[in-house]
């Protein structure tokens, strides 16, 4: 039962084939069995999960038809959860029990979801491997010696290993899509402003966006239905007409125009991955799609601009962690400056400190124009590239990552790590929606195909992904966990 999709579980709960209590118990048991090896969860909420499950069953008996009633969910540990430890993967929040719920958490709860716990992540969502977590890296269920990707690595690993039915993640430069690709699950980054950021611990405010990690595109549509919508608590959330993202899943792809960016399919791309994506695109052609090559001339610069804008915003977003009102405070500060400097230096990990340094530098007197302002101009060029491309095509397809999941501790230098996000990062700059869906294997590790649509065209994205999943079964494959346990 725990291997089923949310769509299937909803049916099973509705028909009485199972109960939320039984389902929740089963996931908790599986977490108890495998989380030691996977380290996918930072916090497991056993008691409250069981209580919520029983409540969901009672509500169902009373006639409730809430869309996710009784379905067990895992939240990335940067969503604030009232009364539950919320760390953002950092020592500086090692003792932070949030006094409020994120809007996403609130909406999931209102939809009847049962919270199993909080998943592991790169510290403050800064990373592509989960290795920057203060709580140790989560592992890739397909190979425990590999990273699950990041920053939403815990959520991706938990979904892949069936330690939950569905999970939330956030994506600032690929943090949903890249771990989804590495772990062989379906991940959706909605358009910027589609989902409220209230209660999401900020990394980079103008890039961060929450979305689901799950077992199919159909599930992603269900989850987006619950997560999406304007929120008066987030000035940057956008007021759009209500939309049922499940409604167009079965639209025909006949006449769909697919763009393949020439910048993605170069000699630098792993040829096995290139082949997998070409095959996947072939499936779409078989469904009636036409394929054209498109030009995204500023693709490469997106990475440069991102590594100015994201650290700049982060450097000031993280100023609030000062050891005064909550979180980690150093022992025996001798004066105010010492309190700040030691609390922050002891509380933040290396990668976070590095990005604070870069961001502070980029905003500092004399460098603002050359870095921050320049990066914002590049940002516009990147957005314009996509706008031009979407005049020609309905979706853009390419690989999610340049390689399959890499080994733990195998990438030592920052720049190599940053290049892992080469295909995902531009979307965040442009605010576009993107998905990663499983499309094959290289060396026994899952490979993700990235599908990108224009502003607020999530329905189109989900339609393409769902139709692809109707004719393929990559998304239904499961890692052989027990076999890996010894590895």
């Amino acid at each position: 039962m725990i291997k089923k999709t949310v769509t299937e579980l909803c049916a099973a709960l509705a028909s009485g084939e199972t109960t939320s209590e039984a389902l929740t118990r089963a996931y908790l048991d599986r977490i108890a069995e495998h989380n030691g090896a996977l380290n996918a969860y930072i916090t497991v909420c056993e008691d409250s999960a069981m209580a919520q499950a029983r409540e969901a069953d009672a509500q169902r008996a009373a006639g409730s038809t809430a869309p996710l009633l009784g379905i067990p969910i895992a939240h990335k540990d940067l969503f604030c959860t009232q009364g539950v430890l919320t760390t953002s993967g950092s020592k500086i929040l090692h003792n932070f029990v949030s006094p409020y719920d994120a809007t996403v958490v609130e909406r999931m709860q209102a939809a009847g979801a049962v919270m199993l716990g909080k998943t592991n992540m790169d510290e403050f969502a800064m990373g592509s491997s989960n290795e920057s977590s203060y709580y140790g890296a989560a592992r890739n269920p397909w190979d425990l010696k590999k990273v699950p990707g990041g920053s939403s690595g815990g959520s991706a690993a938990a979904v892949a290993a069936d330690l939950c039915a569905m999970a939330t993640g956030t994506d600032t430069g690929g943090s949903i899509r890249q771990p989804a690709a590495f772990c062989g699950v379906t991940g959706l980054k909605p358009s910027y402003g589609r989902v409220s950021r209230w209660g999401m611990i900020a990394y980079a405010s103008s890039l961060d966006q929450a979305g689901p990690l799950c077992k199919s595109a159909e599930d992603a549509a269900l989850l987006l239905n619950v997560m999406a919508g304007v929120d008066n608590k987030d000035s940057t959330s956008i007021d759009l007409p209500a939309e049922d993202f499940s409604a167009k899943l079965n639209d025909s792809l006949d006449g769909l125009r697919v763009g393949l960016p020439k910048q993605y399919f170069t000699s630098e791309l792993n040829p096995s991955i290139a082949a997998i994506i070409k095959t996947a695109v072939g499936e779409l052609e078989a469904l009636g799609a036409t394929v054209v090559e498109i030009d995204l001339p500023n693709s490469e610069l997106a990475l440069s601009a991102y590594y100015v804008i994201a650290p700049a915003e982060a450097s000031t977003n993280l100023s609030r962690f000062d050891g005064v009102r909550y979180g980690y405070r150093c022992e025996g500060p001798k004066d105010l400056e010492d309190l700040y400097k030691r609390s922050r230096s002891e509380g933040f990990g290396e990668e976070v400190k590095r990005r604070i340094m870069i961001g502070t530098y980029a905003l500092s007197a004399g460098f603002y124009d050359a870095y921050y302002r320049k990066a914002q101009k590049i940002r516009r060029l990147v957005k314009d590239d996509y706008a031009r491309a979407f005049e020609q095509v309905d979706v853009i397809i390419g690989p999610t990552t340049p390689s399959p999941a890499f080994g733990l501790a195998s990438i030592k230098d920052s720049v190599t790590m940053y290049l892992e996000d080469i295909y995902t990062i531009a979307l965040n700059l442009a605010g576009l929606p993107g998905m990663s869906v499983p499309a094959g294997y290289v060396d026994g590790l899952p490979i993700g195909m990235q599908i990108v649509a224009s502003d607020f065209a999530e329905a189109k994205l989900l339609n393409v992904a769902h139709q692809f999943q109707r004719v393929t079964d990559w998304h239904t494959h499961k890692p052989a966990l027990t076999a890996n346990k010894e590895a």
Binding site: A312, T316, Y326, L363, S364
Partner: protein, 475 residues
């Protein structure tokens, strides 16, 4: 060498909204520490700002009142620095695109002439919390109730040339803000704060001298004193061959001096950049016109009306309109009594003296507009003389009853009964035969003495005009 003083003022005015600039916390003054600081004000992770419409409307209102350009597309920025009273580690402010652009206001100089002072800009920003320096286990205590209260920072051009002009500008600004009712603007409570940029230069020189910024000036009186001190200090420094250093200086009212704030000397690099949690504020014409329609009559226009409609002098009108409350008070008295001149005299002299003597706000006065008007009505209908009215006025301070009741109870009613007055006059003529004779002999000016005696005899209650007439007839 003769020097010229150049002053520019930065005024921080707390906008009188119910809730904070970006959160739904209350903004009341004097609440228990940290009881008006919610999760956003404490900068808990994941919290986000949402802009208060009233604060924007108030800023626009101010802009319209000083004839400023309204920024139709204004942008909030983050100003980054670490301080315990600044929970986010940045203050949300407006750098390049403030809501209020260039405007002007006019001040009246000592010689009665008008001078136009430029306002460079006025931008919205968040107030900081407070650090309390009493000893808490050897530490400072932080109260974040004030953190996030909306401020309008109003920056003047360096157009002011003396401490007196600075005070006149500040008072005018204060007056406009009170007229607009956008701030309590109480300096002692910090809802109206002023920093002064002061420099001097040799007369005739066009470049500005090096300026210092004086902070912590919390009364109009101190503005004048602090600037005068600073000008003297700079002048002596230069005359002794020294050089003014650009720095922030703190005014110490007890010692009446400014001193360098060494702790803030380290050059700050605020790393301003557009606040990504907020979008540009677009203010359309409809919004602006709706606010324009609510603009009250402002002090200059009101003074002109007082001169035109009531025949007041420029000076009297200027005094009466300085505060909106005083002007409202005057208008009520003038309308109810039907005598603007008497009303102006009583309000600007007797009442003002009373307030000054007791250090009262107008609202604290036991004599409110209606009763003062009633008193004037009794002067006009000869119930009391102008002189007796002062006695009634005094009595009204401790007696809340009506003017008529007080006059009645104290027996202060003017005697107009001709029978009674004739008896009075007869007695005075009888008591002062010499003077009576002098009058009859043609020394008519002696009548004044005789009237005085009658008044004295009546304890001031006799109607002097009637006495005068009866005396003349009888003599």
């Amino acid at each position: 060498m003769e020097f010229e003083t150049v002053i520019g003022l930065e005024v921080h005015c707390q906008l009188a909204t119910e809730s904070k600039l970006f959160s739904g916390s209350a903004t009341q003054f004097g609440a228990e520490p940290n009881t008006q600081a919610n999760i956003f004000d404490l900068a808990l992770p994941g919290t986000l700002p949402v802009l208060n419409e009233k604060a924007v409307a108030m800023a626009v209102k101010f802009g319209l009142a000083i004839g400023a350009e309204i920024g139709k597309h204004s942008v909030f920025d983050r100003k980054n620095y670490f301080y315990p009273d600044l929970p986010k580690g940045y203050q949300v402010s407006q750098l390049d695109y403030p809501t209020v652009g260039k405007g002007t206001l006019s001040i009246t100089l000592d010689d009665g002439s008008e001078k136009i002072i430029g306002v460079t800009r006025a931008h919205m920003e968040e107030d900081a919390g407070k650090s309390l320096h009493e000893d808490y286990q050897g530490m400072s205590g932080i109260d974040l109730n004030r953190a996030g209260t909306p401020l309008l920072e109003i920056v003047s051009e360096p157009d002011l040339r003396s401490a007196k002009e600075a005070v006149a500008y500040l008072k005018k600004l204060h007056s406009i803000i009170r007229y607009l009712d956008i701030s309590d603007a109480i300096m002692a409570q910090g809802s109206f704060r002023c920093d002064a940029n002061v420099s001097i230069r040799p007369v005739g020189q066009t470049e500005f001298g090096t300026r210092t910024e004086i902070k912590n000036i919390n009364s109009f009186k101190f503005v004048e004193k602090a600037i005068n001190y600073e000008v003297r200090r700079q002048q002596e420094l230069i005359e002794d061959g020294g050089r003014v250093v650009q720095e922030t200086r703190l005014y110490d009212a007890d010692k009446d001096e400014t001193r360098s704030m060494r702790s803030k000397e380290v050059a700050n690099d605020y790393r301003y950049f557009p606040e990504p949690d907020l979008l540009p504020i677009v203010i359309d014409d409809e919004f602006i016109e709706a606010i324009r329609a609510q603009l009250p009559e402002l002090p200059d226009a009101r003074a002109a009306r007082f001169v035109g409609d009531f025949g007041l002098s420029d000076y009297d009108a200027g005094v009466l309109v300085a505060s909106r409350e005083m002007a409202d008070f005057f208008e009520t008295v003038a309308q109810r009594s039907g005598d603007a001149k008497l009303a102006a005299n009583w309000v600007s002299q007797d009442l003002q003296a009373l307030l000054n003597k007791n250090n009262w706000e107008l609202s604290e006065s036991p004599i409110q507009a209606e009763r003062l008007a009633d008193l004037i009505l009794r002067i006009k209908d000869d119930t009391v003389s102008g002189k007796i009215a002062k006695t009634v006025f005094e009595a009204m301070l401790s007696d809340e009853s009506s003017v008529d009741a007080i006059i009645e109870a104290k027996g202060l009613k003017q005697v107009t009964d001709s029978g009674a007055l004739e008896g009075l006059v007869d007695q005075v003529i009888a008591d002062n035969p010499d003077q009576a004779q002098q009058y009859r002999d043609g020394k008519v000016q002696v009548i004044g003495f005789l009237v005085g005696q009658c008044m004295k005899l009546s304890q001031g209650k006799a109607n002097p005009a009637q006495i005068n007439e009866i005396l003349r007839n009888k003599l």
